[in-house]
């Protein structure tokens, strides 16, 4: 095989291995940073926007609407204050609604939020605006002490249909707290269904009937009162104060096949005037959230851009510093018949190649980082975001990096172009 321009470039890079590796790493970190920020911004927003499903409103006792949405729809934290069953009935029966599905949060199973609700959750609520629930196995619960696992919860616990589940009181935030937390071991729940992934926070949820949760808390009440003895609480033991919920998913009446409705503002205002709880529109709150973080996000992207430019400067410096050592090599190539243009091209190609390798390493780095960040966001915020790097983000950033790297090679390439052959060939020492 003949010696090629590429072989010359490769030798030049390996001759300065430390400089080459550090330059590539600088570029890779800059590319990864930019890709993670861009990708997280887009997929985060998409996940938030779609995460509300077909819900028009959320009614919650949380103090402000944004917190209510983050806790009630995205399961960030269990809501702090409950709503009464009477409040639920008043809302469900007092307005023109497609549905009013109650939810009760607070308990957990191996760190996954347990959501008490009714069978309407699977019949009426859809996790995405345009897609309903799909079961990977089993079916919705139909009785007490049955659970349906979201896809992440099923994967995370390794459980499937037929498995037994014991609910933990509260939602411990640390491993130590989880070990210290009290389990409702006296009540065994059975997995009856596993959902397919929806790409929303519901994937982390463990759904069960409201009444099941009320019963285990009635057991607590009875034990504290010393009245239960060896007997387990049943539905017959429930009193009005046991029937607590933490939120209501509301969809205002719409025409079939339509999402928007003229009734929404009136229902929204009516609920707000009613008082005693917070009413939040998922879309509005998500817009508000992004209006708050939007500026920070732009600053971060600008900073990542600046890091990217500085990586271009690093390429230029690495090549510029190597020019003195390469003076002789360039002069020899010129004597052997290499034109000034070819020498210029060699340096430009080397520069672009540093950008290409850096961009490729950056894409790999970003892919790993996005998986990690997606995992952290799922754990901390309850936000299920796509953990893959979108090609339509990675490709333009990679192309931009290579172009920037080529530009960074311009000054060293001009130096190479102008290298004096007689100066370069002068005997050493």
């Amino acid at each position: 095989m003949a010696l090629t321009d590429f072989a010359i470039i490769r030798r030049s890079m390996s001759a300065r291995l430390f400089s080459t590796v550090t330059t590539v790493l600088t570029v890779a970190v800059a590319v990864a940073l930019l890709l993670v920020l861009l990708s997280m911004r887009d997929s985060g927003r998409r996940a938030f926007e779609r995460g509300g499903g077909n819900i028009h409103l959320l009614v919650s006792a949380d103090s402000d609407p944004l917190t209510a949405i983050l806790n009630g729809v995205f399961y960030a934290r269990p809501p702090r204050a409950p709503l009464s069953w009477a409040q639920y009935r008043a809302i469900a029966e007092g307005y023109p609604l497609d549905f009013a599905v109650p939810i009760a949060q607070g308990d957990s199973f191996r760190g996954f939020p347990v959501v008490g609700t009714t069978e309407e959750m699977f019949a009426r609520v859809t996790p995405l605006p345009d897609r309903g629930w799909e079961f990977a196995s089993g079916a919705p619960f139909t009785g007490d002490f049955e659970v349906v696992l979201g896809s992440s919860a099923a994967r995370g616990t390794g459980l499937g249909v037929g498995a037994e589940v014991v609910v933990t009181h509260g939602t411990p935030q640390s491993k130590a707290a989880m070990e210290a937390a009290r389990e409702h071991g006296e009540f065994k729940f059975k997995v009856v269904g596993v959902l397919r992934p929806t790409g929303t926070s519901h994937d982390r949820a463990v759904f069960t009937s409201l009444q099941s949760l009320w019963i285990i808390h009635a057991q607590d009440r009875l034990e504290q009162g010393g009245g239960s003895g060896p007997r387990l609480a049943t539905a017959a033991d429930l009193i009005e104060s046991d029937r607590k919920i933490t939120g209501i998913y509301v969809r205002v009446a719409t025409r079939p096949g339509q999402n928007a409705t003229a009734l929404l503002p009136a229902v929204f205002d009516g609920l707000r005037k009613q008082g005693g709880f917070t009413v939040a529109q998922p879309k509005q709150e998500i817009d508000r959230l992004f209006a708050i973080v939007g500026n920070i996000d732009q600053v971060l992207v600008a900073m990542a851009g600046a890091v990217m430019v500085s990586s271009g400067i690093a390429i230029m410096l690495a090549l510029y510093n190597s020019m003195e050592q390469r003076r002789r090599q360039i002069a020899v190539l010129r004597v052997l018949g290499a034109s000034q243009g070819r020498v210029f091209g060699l340096v430009m190609t080397e520069s672009a190649l540093l950008g290409l390798i850096g961009a490729a390493a950056g894409v790999v780095l970003a892919s790993v980082a996005i998986l990690v960040v997606a995992g952290v966001m799922r754990e901390r915020l309850g936000l299920v975001i796509d953990g893959t790097l979108p090609v339509n983000t990675a490709l333009p950033v990679a192309a931009l990096t290579i172009a920037l790297a080529a530009m960074a090679g311009l000054v060293p390439a001009v130096l190479a172009y102008r290298t004096s052959v007689s100066h370069g060939l002068r005997p050493i020492g």
Binding site: A2, L3, A15, L336, G337, V421, P427
Partner: protein
């Protein structure tokens, strides 16, 4: 017969030189026939290296003409001149100027990169040349070879494209007399075998015995109109040099 080298009324002055200062290189005429070998003798800084760079087309003359293998070198511009140099002129340097970080055979193949030889033949051709010159460590890194072996690589590289003319710039200046003799034997015999004319510069008087034709630089400047010295066959030749830039 087309001359391997034909110089006429060549003059070169560095752009930064004083307007009335003598030319750095001034040659009224010099002709080398194909396969002919000549020694160009002159002291340090006399303009020998500058003349070789003018012949190779690495510098543009102030006036005059240099033809190599019938081609006016300076009539060619840019890449065409570089291509011509790569294909028809071989150069050997005092410090060999091998490409560091490249193997022995790659150093020879580097010369073929810019030739008209099909790429698939490069390796075989470079290997044959190295073997002919007594080197069998083709894959060894060039900077790990002995001085003598490096010299052989440099000669192989200069001859790789079957040039019409080989320019050797003080090829023995850094060698002891014994090694210098061996190196010159190698260069001269290899050029003869490949039919390349050789123009060798040196300020070493001991080199004169090796060449039938010797051109003195010191008193052969074109301006003075001094005629030829030495025993060459061509009548019209006079070479001179002064100033910096050698």
């Amino acid at each position: 017969m087309t001359a391997a080298l034909d110089i006429s009324e060549l003059s070169f002055r560095y752009p930064t030189a004083e307007p009335n200062s003598p030319a750095t290189v001034s040659v009224r005429a010099l002709r080398l026939n194909p396969g002919e070998q000549a020694l160009l003798v002159g002291g340090s800084g006399s303009g020998k290296s500058t003349l070789l760079q003018l012949i190779a087309g690495l510098l543009d003359p102030t006036s005059g003409r240099v033809e190599v293998d019938g081609q006016d070198v300076h009539a060619l511009r840019g890449p065409a001149r570089d291509r011509f140099r790569g294909r028809r002129i071989g150069m050997i340097f005092q410090t060999f100027n091998l490409l560091h970080g490249f193997s022995t055979i790659e150093n020879v193949m580097a010369a073929l990169m810019f030739s008209a030889v099909p790429p698939r033949e490069h390796r075989a051709r470079a290997a044959a040349l190295l073997t002919e010159l007594g080197l069998d460590r083709h894959e060894a890194m060039a900077d790990r070879l002995s001085v003598g072996q490096q010299q052989r690589v440099a000669v192989a590289r200069a001859l790789a494209c079957e040039p019409a003319l080989v320019l050797a710039d003080e090829p023995t200046a850094s060698l002891d007399p014994e090694n210098a003799a061996t190196a010159m034997d190698l260069i001269q015999s290899a050029c003869r075998r490949h039919g390349a004319a050789l123009l060798c510069t040196s300020h070493d008087p001991a080199m004169r015995a090796r060449f039938e034709r010797i051109e003195m630089l010191a008193d052969l400047r074109a301006e003075r109109g001094v005629g030829a010295a030495g025993g060459g066959a061509e009548a019209a030749r006079s070479i001179g040099g002064a100033g910096s830039g050698a």
